[in-house]
């Protein structure tokens, strides 16, 4: 009988746990309003920064993280008749036109935009506001180049030289967002007529292609703790700073650096907007103002390893010491990207993978 009682009690416990977990935690803060922010998985922010907004506005901020950039945007678009959130953060310039076409955002000309350079403000109607930017760049393993007496390439063109044969790992643009960004950098550099020839030459020079950033960085790249065989990888311009911040034991200088040349990096700008139909428009406006304010903007670099768009925001030392911001990053018009993304990826697949 003992065993049956044990069995029954286990089922009972499971049932109770189910019931407990089913209950939503109730808010004790009385009449505090809740603002819901939908974003992607890479979003991060300090607790005290959000606490500051919450106490100033007597509000609770809830975040829904919904997969990667594409997944989160899909979620927002599919639920537009019944929005799950008040604010969406995380549309980048490659998906910008798609997001605007889906009409999921309401215009809001935040007064804080005066502190944001015009080059980041890509929507004249202010349906989406720039929050941060970053560059997808080639990272290289400093020690490898030093030991082998190799000069670090300074342009995309040089990567097809024989001394760099087999040294570069890139991500598949069909499955990876940095991979797509790098493809677009080559399109900006060589034009729609020339980029496929360039890729063919990269392939002939022993290019290594993998599907995702994790594999490229941790398995293939020799500069990461994965200790892979390739000393160059497509990653982010800020990755060297992350190598310092997340080093095993404190280090002064990053083991990696980015290749900063004309069109070697592709600029990604991330936007936020107020989701159409929100019942909390006033609070959503305040949150967007807050996202552009120095408190939020200065917290961005060490949380998400991207740069604040607000020109007043100060950068932390890990960034100023280890990250170079390219003066001439590659860019493409969002409309052009939207119209050609699929065709470019398909053409790339045929050239590089088949």
């Amino acid at each position: 009988m003992k065993k049956t009682i044990l069995f029954l009690s286990l089922m009972l416990i499971a049932g109770i746990l189910a019931a407990c977990a089913g209950q939503t935690p109730t808010d004790s803060a009385g009449d505090a309003r809740t603002l819901t922010v939908m974003t992607h998985d890479s979003f991060a922010i300090s607790e005290d920064v959000i606490a500051q907004f919450e106490s100033e506005n007597n509000a609770t901020v809830e975040f829904i993280r919904s997969g990667d950039t594409g997944a989160a945007l899909n979620k927002a678009i599919l639920s537009k008749d019944n929005p799950l959130a008040d604010v969406f953060y995380g549309v980048d310039n490659t998906f910008l036109t798609r997001a605007l076409d889906a009409e999921i955002f309401e215009s809001y000309a935040s007064p804080a935009l005066v502190q944001v350079p015009a080059e980041f403000q890509l929507d004249a109607d202010n349906r989406i506001l720039p929050i941060d930017y970053g560059d997808v760049c080639i990272n290289y393993d400093k020690a490898y180049f030093e030991e082998n007496g190799l000069t670090v390439p300074t342009s995309l063109e040089e990567l097809i030289q024989p001394e760099y044969a087999g040294l570069l790992a890139v991500e598949n643009p069909a499955t990876s967002s940095p991979g797509l960004a790098f493809l677009m950098a080559t399109i900006a550099e060589f034009g729609e007529d020339g980029y496929l020839d360039y890729w063919q030459q990269l392939v002939d020079n022993g290019l290594v292609v993998v599907n995702d950033w994790e594999t490229a960085y941790y398995t293939n790249f020799s500069g990461s703790s994965g200790q892979g065989p390739q000393p160059m990888v497509v990653s982010y311009g800020s990755s060297p700073a992350a190598e310092v911040v997340y080093a095993e034991s404190p280090i002064e200088e990053a083991p990696t650096a980015s290749i900063i040349g004309e069109n070697t990096c592709f600029r990604q700008i991330e936007f936020a907007g107020i989701l159409a139909g929100t019942p909390n428009r006033d609070l959503a406006e305040k949150f967007l103002d807050f996202m552009l304010s120095p408190a939020f903007q200065e917290d961005i670099p060490l949380q998400m390893f991207v740069f604040p768009v607000n020109r007043e925001a100060q950068l932390p030392a890990a960034f100023t010491d280890n990250v170079d911001i390219p003066e001439h990053p590659a860019t493409l018009a969002p409309d052009l990207i939207n119209a050609n993304r699929e065709a470019w990826i398909n053409a790339w697949t045929e050239t590089v993978l088949q």
Partner: protein, 573 residues
């Protein structure tokens, strides 16, 4: 040769309403939480409003991944059978040192997120893996001799690594329930051991083997992470293509067409399986006649058993061991100094798990993540096992209803996690079932995936209970509940444990639906692992591996506890 089985009770045509009664709850659950979101999302996407145009479809984008999907799934399944069936034989018949450990460890691959398995294989066979480093040192080589990642071989190896446990668990569970008297009778009548195996043992095992094969095939058929991370850009299955179309090209209609195709294939495969297993004879198990479990005989048998144990350890345990080892070992003490790789023992990665140096709002405390994972797993077990029992009883009723409803319980295995996730978003947006406020949607999604496993484990076991035992109990005056408690439950106990383990492992390891439905307030272990590994930095990488080791420990603890559950009648097994 026909087998003597006691099935006079089963021939009586049961009224359909009884089957319907058993189906009521499972069907309602599946209908509400699976078919409703799925049909809604298809309905939305396959509409002109979304620019859907069947005539403009480039069918090569559909056939090419389909062909590859079928090809790799078939090959992977055959390989898994080739390893798993001898493994099941081993576990059924023999005792050997380390048996319990091996059985426990062989289940762990099943829970690991692919990104971690990829890291494990990388730590073992990658360009800087232990094997390549060793070979390079041994033969004084300049470049790593083994090229494993991004090959077709890596896909097959990973599939075998993941799924061998399904074959071992399901088949050896059925095998040890076999009535030893039948084999003895055959041998007394002069049949050779081979003939006994072919004509008695194998036919009796067929339902379990077919069930396990079906599960493995469907798992391989919908494979996603393995293809993406270990196979590389040359390979795309339907599920990978759905992901690319939906998430990177935002071509949702094409993604919908592909997921419908994947569902149709799943349905077809399940129906084919049911046709194949319809004529199977199910042997009764009986308390008195257990198959003997013993030490291997000296000589040839010992060699075979030893070889098998070593092979299973190598295949199933070495990537896990490499991973665990890597989580406590620091490579290169001096960053940037290449050539000689310095190694040292460290617990730094584990210590760092408990710290939140940048005060991030989304920091995941490991204990909390482990607790959430376990709670969700327990709920999944409760839902999946109770619904699975009902389905198994419904199937026993021999009602025409079963032919229609049974394949429908398998479909969650063939549904793309991405499509289902999007379906959940558009359907469950109002309280009480809202993706926002209702964290139990996550274990519900896990239950959908676990249910096919539970049904396929409990079904054959239930069919194998001789009606004569029940009839005897009834004749002796036992009430229906008492009959169930004293006859069915003890005979079902081992299969109940196996299905609980499946539900546990599926819930602990699942990431596809989790990434859609998880709430920051209730982070789980796989979510935390992804959080670390998606950022650059040696510490992040180490922490991801440490968190994965923690996930394995939590899972091992869960299995350990389940196997010690004293269900009535368990002691006889």
């Amino acid at each position: 040769m026909s087998l003597p089985t006691a099935r006079f009770g089963g021939r009586i045509k049961q009224p359909t309403w009884r089957a319907a009664l058993f189906w009521l709850l499972p069907a309602a659950f599946l209908g509400y939480f699976f078919y409703q979101p799925l049909l809604s999302i298809f309905n939305l996407l396959i509409s002109p409003e979304w620019g859907f145009d069947l005539s403009a479809l480039d069918w090569s984008q559909v056939w090419q991944p389909l062909r590859f999907t079928v090809f790799q799934a078939t090959l992977s399944t055959l390989l898994t059978l080739a390893i798993g069936l001898p493994g099941a034989w081993l576990f059924t018949h023999f005792t050997f040192p380390g048996k319990k450990t091996l059985k426990l460890l062989s289940t762990l691959p099943f829970i690991l997120p692919t990104v971690v398995v990829a890291a494990g294989f990388n730590a073992l066979l990658g360009p800087r893996g232990w094997v390549n480093l060793g070979l390079m040192a041994l033969f004084d080589l300049e470049t790593p001799p083994i090229q494993f990642l991004n090959t077709f071989g890596a896909i097959l190896t990973a599939h075998v690594f993941y799924n061998t446990t399904i074959i071992i668990r399901v088949v050896s569970n059925a095998w040890s329930r076999q009535n030893a008297r039948l084999q003895q009778a055959a041998q007394v009548l002069g049949a050779s051991p081979w003939r006994t195996f072919r004509e008695v043992t194998l036919p009796l095992l067929r339902p379990a083997i077919l069930s396990a094969t079906l599960l493995v095939f469907l798992f391989n058929f919908t494979s996603f992470g393995v293809i993406l991370m270990l196979g590389g850009p040359q390979f795309a299955t339907l599920e990978v293509e759905i992901y690319i179309q939906a998430m990177h090209l935002l071509n949702l209609p094409l993604a919908a067409v592909l997921s419908i195709l994947q569902l149709i294939c799943t349905l077809g495969i399940t129906i084919a399986h049911n046709q194949l297993s319809r004529k199977d004879v199910l042997a009764a198990s009986s308390r008195a006649q257990e198959l003997p479990v013993r030490k291997p005989k000296r000589g040839f048998q010992t060699v075979i058993v030893a070889l098998l144990v070593v092979a299973l350890f190598t295949l199933l345990v070495s990537p896990l061991a490499a991973l665990t080892l890597r989580s406590v070992v620091k490579l290169d003490a001096n960053r940037g100094e290449r050539g000689e790789i310095a190694r040292g023992f460290t617990l730094q990665y584990y210590q760092a798990l408990w710290e939140n140096p940048r005060n991030s709002l989304f920091y995941v405390p490991p204990i909390e993540a482990a607790r959430n994972s376990l709670i969700f797993a327990l709920i999944t077990i409760a839902i999946a096992v109770s619904l699975g029992l009902l389905v198994a009883y419904a199937q026993k009723q021999r009602s025409p209803l079963n032919h229609v409803l049974d394949p429908l319980t398998m479909l969650p295995l063939g549904a793309s996690a991405i499509t289902l996730g999007l379906g959940f978003i558009i359907v469950f947006n109002q309280p009480p079932f809202s993706t926002l406020s209702f964290p139990i949607l996550l274990p519900i999604a896990h239950s959908l995936i676990a249910l096919p496993f539970v049904v396929r484990t409990l079904g054959p076991a239930l069919q194998g209970i001789p009606p004569s035992l029940r009839n005897a109990a009834r004749v002796l005056g036992a009430r229906p509940f008492r009959v169930w408690w004293e006859v069915d439950l003890p005979l079902l106990a081992p299969s109940l444990l196996v299905s609980m383990i499946f539900a546990l492992t599926i819930s602990l390891g699942e990431f596809g639906a989790t990434s859609f439905l998880t709430r920051p307030q209730y982070p789980t272990l796989p979510v935390a692992i992804y959080r670390y590994i998606s950022q650059p930095g040696a510490l992040n990488y180490g922490q991801a591996l440490a968190m994965s080791t923690l996930l394995m420990l939590v899972c091992a603890a869960g299995i350990f506890l389940i196997e010690r559950l004293r269900l009535p009648g368990k002691e006889i097994f």
